[in-house]
Subunit: 289 residues, 4 copies
């Protein structure tokens, strides 16, 4: 594109595979004046499922933004029983950041935010500990300290849900937030809660994965970012990466090496989420990179 | 796809970017009864260049195979000044394998060939040394020993060109073939001679890259597979990969670690070439993985 | 070393940590005329365990090879309750190769053998299928076809043990050998049976790991080489590596990408074993690279 | 070690290889009551050079800290013409941080500092731009703004040298500091100025390496941390790492992917420097990990 980047629309689509899907979508865009910037499509032949991400320039598009969804549903989507999501390139999503005591992912996100790496707002930070309050306030974000105990978890989650609504939060990032969220809570933000787990899932789910990795004597450790679901550490994986370790690495060395991995893997997952490249299907992600 | 994999056609296209390209191509396929299996498209906005790989099922396609190219040129390509190549999924390309004395890439390719990993024929093996003759003959390939000296290089290359024509060779793989090919020779097989260079290009072109890497004290070594062009080790890169080394690795250790890298990187490049996923543009590749 | 590489001795040692271990060992070598070529030592502080690999030139060493073990035990090892193994750099280990129907790891090992990459003898190849017989015989190795059924497994393993003894086999490599070995069998070759498992263990043990990886939607797949123990896929890990996959990779794509990983990871593990760099301790390996 | 981690001493040694070095060093430590915690030694046989890093517990060591160097020089080092450096585990090095306008490496280091990841002091931050002043001051570090022009470079470097002395700076980290330092300046901090270069050196030295990488069409980009020397981007490499890119990645995508690489690679190099694991020899590093 030239330097005056104009606004574009993004459609994420999946549906049962059949003939004529691609032509119908591209016709809808072309005939109405859209210029396709990016199209990635694939068919999962085992599941007979069709997936597409398509982005087009809205400069000369004849349908107004507010009506694109309605027109697309009527003219195209309904014929193919499509699941679809529409986004615009100028959207600024609102993130709530959850943190406990471990600072590395939290600081990394704040640094990206301050440096303007992401097109996002972070109006709200929630923690079960007060430790990160000073750092949070530097950014102008509201920091809400909600300590969690077995007794008050339900009540605190209700309070969180109120806050999330009040701050018009679009998605939640768990930056090494050490609490398990209830199914009820998660159900309010399906595929909109991004967690970072400090292992190469499905190896070492649950607590203390570096200790387990050390005990097992693996030669590589990993980190996994996924959408939270009701089953712990079993949600759709967005991104993973690994780093080599050796017998000389103690648990503490693994924790240190893992920190950098966790922050990079979480940041990549958030980037993908912000760029609307992730589509969830049967507990797996399609990431249109 | 279901188990009766039917024949498909593959188009690789690049042209100046403009509106209406995607729709024209997808219409051409859809209106003539083709079912799109795979579509990957992108625009290099800096160069205003459009790239696409599209594959469709020929089961119900109304244009006979021999006419698809002509029709596409007339109805679509000419309007957009497209460069395009058409392939069919049942093509069996014919590879000539060039080898010198180093066996690892050569043996690796023979093993893949014997194991049926690739849809390819290898009727001809050319070498400037006789060492690999027994292994070559086990496969039923013809082994032609053409020793190269400064004096006879031109003559031997003419002989090679005759052989390549005689054996109806589609592309050449240089499996650590230690001779430099002339521009004249290369010009007969543009983007159809795949070389493996034992460094992470553009670092350490030319001879003895592991010695140079050791001298420079790098912490990672690499291998690069590229199409041969008249400029040595400067052709379009198809695939690269790396492996970590340390101060404890001697040049010999690097050579050993590099061997596995070279064979895997070369094999991946050949795989991409055989699957018609590589498009060359301004000395760079677009690899539609 | 200068170009006339002379013979060296290698000691692998582990014992409870205490003061004076390093000095005792280095004194034993130095005072008897040995020149230390390589020394790697570390302490697992959690387990208070000491580990060392030390290699010295035997050129001027005053103790004859056959007596080194006895002298070391008497003068040094017994004082520190050491577990130790002594090797010589000119040892040529004898490998038995187990294979089923999948050829890639098998061919890869044969190619390395033919090319002289390893200092090893492979006098014996055992398989439950006859498929690899022609390739095996090209090398001059004896190929013994021992089909396995539920009924004859015990009997066939007894036959194998006889063959292994007859051929004076030092260690076994399971090159994607698809049979489970009995505890009884494994107990004859502790830490001397090298297996390759086609997943990033402990994720996806057991059968069909690529199918499981695809089902789980991981973004990276791996391979693991380990010593076989009585617990399936739970033995000490020697080497692991990974490769990136995406949602576009079918199970078949994963199998293809995994093949190259498996052969490289297995080969690295065999190389470490041949160079006496691996020490097993509490079901984990110390690999002195 | 147990939880009361006691103080240890670290020796980094290199010298011409000969018999008796290891025994002399280990005797010096053992006979004086030291308990060896870690010993890594290797011989570069090509250069006949001996390298060692040895660390021992000082709990029962009979030589006082201030005298260890003198005694070691007299009793051991002088006999073998050793180059050596002595460090203590409780040293807190003082870092000066140089930054320009790019915030990612700078913020990453500040976050590690705030989180207590490193045993270091950062009393001084120097920049040719004022942009990072607010972030710097949050940490209590002094921020000195010294704009550089062709005319005032010499004068500003003299001012810097005064500041470095005044703040008793041990080493300098160039966190994407975009100015070239003079040979004169560098000569004051040999192997104590750590730079991060945004390419996989020796590929793409100098300015705009991501643009060059994009132009060349590489499939992998890298970052390199090295000690600054008088030759630009040619100093001893401490750490490198890479990340995969594709034809779809624009220069901007490479810059984004590179940012995370740069900060991790620089942080690893600083960690190695702080732990006294790096020894420089003939423009290469030995990193005793």
């Amino acid at each position: 594109m030239d330097d005056t980047t104009s606004k574009s629309a993004i459609l994420l689509i999946h549906c049962p595979d059949q003939k004529g899907i691609v032509i119908s979508i591209t016709e809808f865009i072309f005939k109405n004046g859209g210029n396709i910037l990016y199209l990635d499509q694939h068919v999962d032949t085992g599941r007979q499922a069709f997936f597409m991400r398509i982005e087009w320039d809205l400069g000369d598009f004849v349908i107004v933004d507010e009506k694109i969804g309605e027109y697309f549903e009527t003219l195209v989507a309904s014929r193919f029983s499509m699941n679809w999501r529409l986004h615009f390139s100028d959207e600024v999503l609102r993130m709530a950041l959850y943190v406990s005591k471990l600072p590395h992912c939290f600081y990394d996100i704040l640094a990206r935010y301050e440096a303007g790496e992401w097109q996002v707002e972070i109006p709200l930070i929630i923690s079960n500990h007060a430790d990160m309050q000073p750092a949070a306030e530097r950014l102008g974000a509201d920091f809400v300290h909600l300590p969690i105990s077995r007794e008050n978890r339900e009540q605190q989650e209700r309070r969180q849900l109120e806050l999330l609504q009040e701050y018009r939060i679009d998605f939640i990032v768990l930056a090494r937030y050490m609490q398990v969220l209830s199914d009820e809570f998660i159900s309010h933000y399906p595929n909109r809660i991004i967690n970072i787990h400090h292992s190469f899932l499905p190896a070492f789910p649950g607590a203390r994965p570096y200790h387990s990795a050390h005990e097992r004597g693996v030669k590589i450790i990993g980190a996994t970012s996924h959408y939270a679901t009701s089953e712990l550490d079993a949600g759709p994986i967005i991104e993973q990466d690994v780093v080599r370790v050796s017998h000389e690495d103690s648990v503490e060395d693994m924790i240190r090496k893992g920190r950098d991995l966790e922050k990079v893997v979480l940041a990549r997952a958030v980037w993908q989420h912000l760029h609307h490249t992730v589509l969830v299907y049967e507990n797996r992600t399609v990431v249109f990179e």
